[in-house]
């Protein structure tokens, strides 16, 4: 695939994203904050409008026309998610309000039954707070121990002591598929393989992976896989928890309420079947339906082109960054998604972010909800540019100029 094809494709894709056609501070918007949240294609926005203008209704148990349409569309997203993740079993797909909610669900509904005093939970140093704090809360309650896979200077897992970190006491291993702060694609196969040997359950935080490459939960063979719709062209307030049926069935319910019960009585309540057992209350109906359109969009893309284009964006950015004096890139693994985190010597990331914003460029600055990782590198935070399919090489070049100008001003 050559540049020309790529440019044509980007232009076509950008037409789907109305937000990109605007100016910020008098400059065309360049949105490089995709790891925080992706922009949404028109089809997703339209499916929300359509829902509210044509068939908004509470779902399940309805006898009327609107409820029937809404229920059908809602459940069809579950089918799409199941296909997307590679499972046939719709009971294994739980809708939550986001990755954070999914991980908390597991930490509580699985963890409180299965973690006991002295048990160990293994995470890594590059986890997002959402995959640390729920385990800390659990560990504190149960008097369990959190062990941590360290990170190398390149921002990769240091697995040299993995044997010592894993033991019979390790009950769950909860790790990141792709690091949100650095972009590293982690070798989860190794961890999963070794964790299985000690009988630990495995949770993969896939918040940053599903938008970049295909994931098949059955071939990965994890017990849980979590992600958020909003980082995959979908709306906020929607998350997915994939769980293996036998594991989900062994778990206690998480939230109590409507939908998740079979019968309620003050003498005793029985719970509904999967997936409903974990979906208490009115869900984010509109969001989940629109999420279906987001998956349609994502799966309609040419996978090879996505890989090619994202790599080109990353490589172009990495090359120009390295030419800037005092530049340090954090996360230099060969296995990376299109995310680049950096600092320039003597310049605060916040100042860089501010001046880039003045020039229409949206990047994220700060600790990216990975304080332990920042601590490991002894930095307060980084500037992170994260690229999506609708970003162009031209935008990266404008970014290069803007960054050089900003650095000059700040020195």
């Amino acid at each position: 695939m050559d540049d020309v094809v790529s440019i044509g494709a980007v232009e076509k894709i950008r037409k789907h994203f109305p937000i990109l056609q605007q100016e910020v501070n008098g400059k065309p918007l360049i949105y490089f904050d995709n790891a925080a949240t992706s922009q949404k294609p028109l089809s997703v926005i339209e499916s929300i409008t359509e829902y509210y203008q044509e068939y908004n209704s509470n779902i399940h148990r309805g006898v009327h026309h609107l409820a029937n349409i809404a229920t059908g569309k809602f459940e069809s997203t579950r089918q799409k998610v199941a296909d997307f993740l590679g499972t046939d079993d719709l009971g294994e797909i739980i809708f939550t309000s986001g990755t954070t909610d999914s991980i908390n669900l597991v930490a509580q509904a699985w963890g409180r039954l299965n973690i006991h005093s002295g048990d160990e939970i293994l995470v890594s140093e590059l986890e997002h707070h959402s995959n640390i704090v729920p385990w800390q809360i659990l560990a504190q309650e149960k008097n369990a121990i959190i062990k941590v896979i360290p990170v190398t200077d390149k921002g990769e897992w240091d697995l040299s002591n993995l044997e010592e970190l894993l033991s019979e006491r390790t009950k769950i291993v909860a790790v990141n598929h792709v690091s949100n702060a650095l972009g590293t694609i982690n070798p989860i196969e190794i961890i999963i393989n070794r964790s299985r040997q000690v009988g630990a359950k495995i949770l993969i935080d896939g918040a940053q992976s599903v938008v970049h490459f295909e994931v098949n939960v059955k071939s990965i063979d994890c017990d849980f896989y979590c992600f958020s719709a909003h980082k995959l062209y979908g709306p906020t307030g929607v998350g997915v928890l994939y769980g293996k049926r036998e594991v989900l069935e062994s778990m206690a319910p998480y939230r109590g309420g409507g939908e998740m019960i079979k019968t309620v009585s003050f003498k005793g309540t029985t719970y509904n079947e999967l997936p409903h057992k974990f979906e208490a209350g009115t869900p984010n109906i509109e969001g989940i339906i629109a999420f279906g359109s987001a998956i349609d969009f994502a799966t309609s893309l040419d996978k090879d082109w996505v890989q090619f284009h994202e790599k080109q964006l990353l490589d172009t950015a990495t090359t120009f960054l390295q030419e800037i004096e005092g530049m340090k890139i954090y996360g230099t693994s060969a296995q990376k998604v299109s995310v680049v985190s950096f600092l320039v010597d003597g310049i605060h990331p916040y100042d860089l972010g501010t001046l880039l914003d003045q020039q229409g460029i949206a990047v994220r600055t700060g600790h990216h909800c990975t304080q332990p990782l920042m601590e490991r590198f002894k930095i307060p935070g980084t500037v992170r540019a994260s690229f999506a399919i609708y970003n162009s090489i031209e935008e990266v070049n404008i970014f290069a100029d803007a960054l050089r100008k900003s650095v000059k001003m700040l020195r």
């Binding site: 605060h348 916040y350 100042d351 501010t354 001046l355 700060g366 935070g381 700040l410």
Partner: protein, 144 residues
Amino acid sequence: METIEDRQKEIIQEFGMFDDWMQKYEYIIELGKDLPVIEQEFKTEDHLIKGCQSKVWLHADFGADGMVRFTADSDAIITKGLVSLVIRVLDGMNGQDIAQSDLHFVNDIGLTSHLSPTRSNGLASMIKQMKIYGMLAANQQPQP
């Protein structure tokens, strides 16, 4: 003698000369570089202002005449520039006047609407802290 109001007017006039925000930021950065740095001994946890992505340390010296002298620092240069603007307005003023001042220049030069919410909050926290110092000075409290 120059009043707080005079100094604000000066700043408003200066900022009126710039065509765009990049120029304003350039000026703010220059101001940041010029800010007389706080003594190292005051760069401690209790001199830290909360509510910012960047750190701000603020120190106040009270004169016997109720006058307050401010020094400050920040790890981010733009923040430092903003801090220096506020200091320029309030430094050496009477505690009472500081406590009662209305720093409308922040709004007038467009900072309120232009800064990110975190930065605005940080700036607001700092101004609040300076007014507290002003009040303390006015009441002839011992220096904190």
